[in-house]
Amino acid sequence: MTPLSAPLEVGFDYTRSLGPVLGRFMTGLRDRQIEGVRGSDGRVHAPPVEYDPGTAQPLTEFVAVADEGTVESWSWMPAPLEGQPLAHPFAWALVRLDGADTAMLHAVDAGSPDRMRTGMRVRARWAPEPVGSIRDIACFEPLDGPAPPRPEPHGGEPVTMVTTPVHLHYEHSASEEESRYLRGLAEGRLLGQRCPECGKVYIPPRGACPTDGVPTSEEVELPDRGVVTTFCIVNVPFLGQRIQPPYVAAYVLLDGADIAFLHLVLGCAADEVRMGMRVEAVWKPREEWATTVANIDHFRPTGEPDAPFESFAEHL
């Protein structure tokens, strides 16, 4: 059977402090000026570098450069990817700005690759709402058109931070073993697997026994009851929390399993939960079941006598 897979979205707004060199560069961009920095060999780097690439000396002499320059190399992007400067086909280019000795990587809005050539002249097109980011330059454009009205300088406090949103999209696959386990859950069954070498029963089953490095194979159906091996009382609220603290997150060792898994223990006061407590699964209504361990809403005490410590000491 095909392993299960699902989209996985990963996103984070990276917030970075800039320091004196990049801070000044970004402040300049916000004010619609491009500043480079003079290197140890006299060359002007634009964008500026904090340390000389040859001598590693800290660089401090800023030099204003033009917002026009010359294309040193280019490539054509016929189908722009998410996040790139333009949504319609454009050129990537290394642009050496007038007054600089190094090139800046950016987009050129040329309309067609036929308008692109090495050595062509381009100028920056400024973003309407500058914030102090490399994207304050919306893109470059060929210099053969009429000059657009130059936007007013923006001004304000020095820029010290830059925020870069990053969003990546993945298709996350479960292993074959995990897929059997997840499909079992959709039928209200708890399916583990036994390692052929050490005989241990893992739930969820693993692609390889972490002790022996061999795939687990023999399927073992486990009951929905077991013992709390260890637990913590959650008192701290956090983003996305589904239950009002305090509540108990516990490792539950199902009867017949050799590895505990994390779940909630509800149905009694948090301070009554203890190591060795016998618990059983409380399933959600059958019509809500899917390929997820969330089909078990939580575990609750069974009222049976506690398991002796020795019976789970190996599984802590």
Binding site: P53, P210, D212
Partner: protein
């Protein structure tokens, strides 16, 4: 201290466009390890040091390399390390570890499920996070900028680039692990539309899922494990500036420096980790490889480029030519970063 260190085993997973396996590599690695144990007679408990190369960005999850350790069977506890880089750099770490004399064997592995995300976008995150990455320049576009520099200067031509692709595909026909192989016509390739002008699809390595592993051993241990070890005579890596606009993209000074330090005279086979045809042409110039040197007899990364394993695969493929007696002295090259920014050269030879 161990001074004589050799590659004594190499195995790889099939290079495929999309595996149904997880991003933690376990399903690809378990059979690769089994193959190496069978070939060398080692058991997992005999391995002195384990070192891996992979990327959480590629996997889309934190600490994916820790999950991969399941494939080893890490009990009793093992000595293990990881680099967020190609497995070739993990091999470098393992080589240093053996040189210290602390261990006399190491198993090095690299793995990547490139198909899980959008590889071209994921690789944008290795760029300068202040002035470059916020524009999301993709890996193919950056390679295209580099290719254009060489084309403009007459250092290579689109026809020569297509010839690299055609030679690679033809050689890959003998490599059962290769993702792409077969006869292709250079003139027909040049009729294809651009993927990222001046690069066409055949100029770019495919998106590949895969894994590879290499066993290193020192001195007499190497001779016990392998009839004809591939002795490492030079292993060096160097890096160029991350600032693309300060570099002459038609050159790779770090590759030349690594090769000079490693000592590459006399090699007859070179496995070059050039994921773009123009980069192979650049590297051949930079390393000064004559036409007599056989380039990428495996088909190379243009026929299968499992991220974070492809550089290690070059070392394994080159070593395999020594171990099977078809070559005396070989070179393997690995790269990471944009436009051949960081380069590693490993030179190996057989001894009678």
């Amino acid at each position: 201290m161990n001074t004589d260190i050799a590659v004594v085993g190499f195995a790889q997973a099939p290079q495929v466009h999309r595996t149904s396996a997880t991003t933690n590599g376990v399903e690809m690695l378990v059979p690769v390890f089994q193959e190496l144990f069978a070939a060398t007679g080692l058991t997992r408990r005999d391995v002195g040091f384990w070192c891996s190369g992979s990327s959480d960005y590629l996997a889309g999850r934190a600490f994916s390399f820790v999950s991969a350790v399941d494939a080893i069977g890490a009990f009793p506890p093992i000595i293990e390390s990881h680099v967020e880089s190609d497995g070739a750099w993990a091999l470098y770490e393992a080589w240093v570890k053996i040189r210290t004399g602390e261990v006399d064997t190491a198993l090095v592995y690299g793995f990547g499920k490139s198909s899980a995300g959008e590889l071209r976008r994921v690789l944008a995150l290795q760029l300068d996070p202040y002035t470059v990455a916020p524009l999301w320049p993709d890996s193919v576009s950056i390679a295209a900028l580099q290719a254009r520099v060489g084309l403009d200067r007459g250092l290579w031509s689109e026809k020569e680039m297509a010839e690299v692709a055609a030679r690679s595909r033809a050689d890959a026909a003998a490599n059962p692990y290769a993702q792409l192989s077969g006869a292709v016509d250079v003139a027909a390739l040049l009729e294809e539309p651009y993927l990222a002008d001046p690069l066409r699809t055949h100029d770019c390595a495919p998106v590949t899922d895969g894994a590879a592993a290499v066993v290193l051993a020192a001195g007499d241990r190497a001779r016990e494990l392998c009839n004809r070890p591939a002795w490492i005579t030079g292993l060096e890596h160097r890096v160029d500036s991350p600032v693309l606009g300060t570099r002459d993209l038609s050159r790779s000074p770090s590759a030349a420096a690594a090769a000079a330090a490693a000592g590459i005279d006399g090699v007859t086979v070179a496995e070059l980790h050039a994921p773009f045809t123009s980069q192979e042409l650049l590297l051949r110039r930079e390393l000064g490889l004559s036409d007599a040197v056989r380039i990428n007899p495996s088909g190379g990364p243009l026929c299968g480029n499992p991220m974070f394993a492809a550089g290690l695969t070059r070392i394994g493929e080159a070593a395999a030519r020594v171990m099977d007696g078809t070559a005396e002295r070989v070179l393997a090259h690995a790269t990471v970063g944009p436009a051949l920014q960081q380069n590693l050269v490993c030179v190996m030879e057989g001894r009678s």
